[in-house]
């Protein structure tokens, strides 16, 4: 390649990436650095900006509301990720063999994934309301008839159910794609050797699903850490902050109280948590796969 051609190549290359570079500098890199920097200031819109060092983090560490948000987010994640993965595996196994209607069922199970969580939130607010379907069914089963969204111990389980409803179809599809790649011979051989369905799943299918399940665990954890839409619509963080998640806290502090420095500190904390959990998952679950 001649020098002039190479130079022309470099020029077009740069020209083609330029718009993206400008946008990334302005709206991704810059803000990422600014988020870290803002967390060290007492910036409010319209007010002044002072460097206050680690003051925001000291405030976070001593703020019971922040620790509530951390606890709520972790409890939500610990409940929703395994439940959602379990449902995904179950539904993938049920829709694995292509028989009449399988495609229809797969499409039905994937529909919530493409549905807005705001819409889901509006409907599920009614589902969980006092006298709504959920409390009526519980009542019919002899359990206390009450609105789960109004109970500080049950509000997270309610949000978890919505999250499982909205996410399991995604995991199901990813697992199905993997199941389709598995050679059928192994299972057939095990079947002729008299292995029952559970044994075939436990010793043949499950080990081969491990990498996919690891991938899903990471994705679902990230999604759960960022839960916001349903909280905003269904509970507003309540009752008494029982569903006050981290992103909801960030929104509340930043856009209701306009305490942007403090909200940025919450964002940095969320980022660190995401990173730490991804690392732990890599070291524990990931090693085996």
């Amino acid at each position: 390649m001649s020098t002039s051609l190479r130079r022309q190549q470099a020029r077009t290359g740069l020209l083609f990436v330029l718009p993206c570079v400008v946008l990334f500098a302005a709206f991704r890199f810059g803000p990422a650095i600014a988020a870290a920097a803002l967390s060290l200031t007492d910036y409010t819109i319209g007010g002044g900006t002072n460097w206050i060092g680690l003051e925001n983090f000291r405030r976070l560490a001593g703020d019971p509301t922040f620790w509530t948000a951390v606890r709520v987010t972790i409890v939500f994640t610990v409940l929703s990720v395994p439940l959602s993965l379990l449902t995904s595996v179950g539904m993938a196994l049920l829709t694995r063999r292509t028989t009449i209607g399988t495609r229809f069922f797969r499409s039905v199970f994937f529909l919530p994934v493409v549905t807005s969580l705001v819409l889901a939130g509006v409907v599920f607010t009614w589902v969980f309301s006092d006298g709504g379907p959920w409390s009526s069914i519980l009542g019919a089963l002899g359990l206390p008839r009450q609105s789960w969204l109004a109970d500080s111990a049950l509000v997270i389980p309610a949000l978890v159910l919505v999250s499982v409803w909205s996410r399991f179809g995604y995991g199901m599809l990813i697992i199905l794609a993997r199941l389709q790649d598995l050679p059928a011979e192994l299972e057939e051989a095990a079947m002729t050797d008299g292995a029952n369905a559970w044994q075939r799943f436990r010793y043949i299918v499950l080990p081969q699903l491990r990498p996919v399940l690891f991938f899903l665990a990471v994705i679902e954890t990230t999604v759960s850490f960022q839960v916001f839409d349903t909280v905003y619509v269904m509970t507003g963080g309540g009752p008494v902050r029982a569903s006050y998640t981290l992103v909801y806290a960030l929104f509340d502090q930043g856009f209701r109280y306009f305490d942007l420095g403090y909200a940025s500190a919450i964002g940095v904390a969320l980022f660190v948590m995401t990173l730490v959990v991804a690392l732990i998952q890599r070291l524990t679950l990931g090693r085996e796969s």
């Binding site: 083609f16 709206f27 499409s107 709504g132």
Partner: protein, 268 residues
Amino acid sequence: MAWRIGRGVLLFAAAVLTLFPFYSMVVLSLKPAGPMTFPGSLLPWPVSMDGFEQVLGARSVLRWAFNTLVYAVVSVVGVLLLSSLAGYAFAKKHFPGKNTLFWSFVAMLMVPYHVTIIPVFVLVSKLNGVDTYWGMIVPTLANAQAVFLMRQFIAGMPDELFEAARLDGCSEWRVYRSIVLPLIKPILATLGVFVFLWHWNDFLWPLVVGTSDDMRTLTTGIASLQAEGVPLNVVLAGSVVAFVPIFMAYLVGQRFFKEGVTMSGIKG
């Protein structure tokens, strides 16, 4: 045989549970205002169009739908154009700093969008972009995932395809337009559907940046109805308006939805 029947029953029950919220949404949106009891209100009658009349008349649902469409369509076109240009350059051109630049783009995938939302909001408000279309759209065009997927897709194509055209004297723009673009059609479709869906369902960013009633999208508009304590049949009529276009598109192009969402991992 028993297993077959059991499987069928389980599938059927799961489908009913999955579809129940959709059924409730539609049926309750067609009820007159008043307390929605269970199971009485889930009967398909009496039918009343009050909810739809109110939400389409007194409230700005059509305006919100228009805003959502603008937000989604302009973003799809912008993201596809910019990411395919950049992806092509990253895959097939040689220029100084290429790898550093590409991997720093990819590294941004690690930073959740919630972490940067405050500085982005501050920047947009300094540029007077709060409550404007461009202020809502432009920050979302910096899409690391799209650039990454484009680059991977184009890198898998043989160099000869592009060289031959260049030797024939085609300008770089012509090569992009008449060779690159037609070749990447499949990924344009799946990525396009994903970006569209992401924007259609996006909530936090429009909530923060679209502050007046006229700049709301369907998601933030419906959330505002819910927050104002508007009767449920009206809120749900709005929800049906927001849901039907996506549902129709899903019926027609399911494959793209599934590919788009699974390819990109996270729902908007």
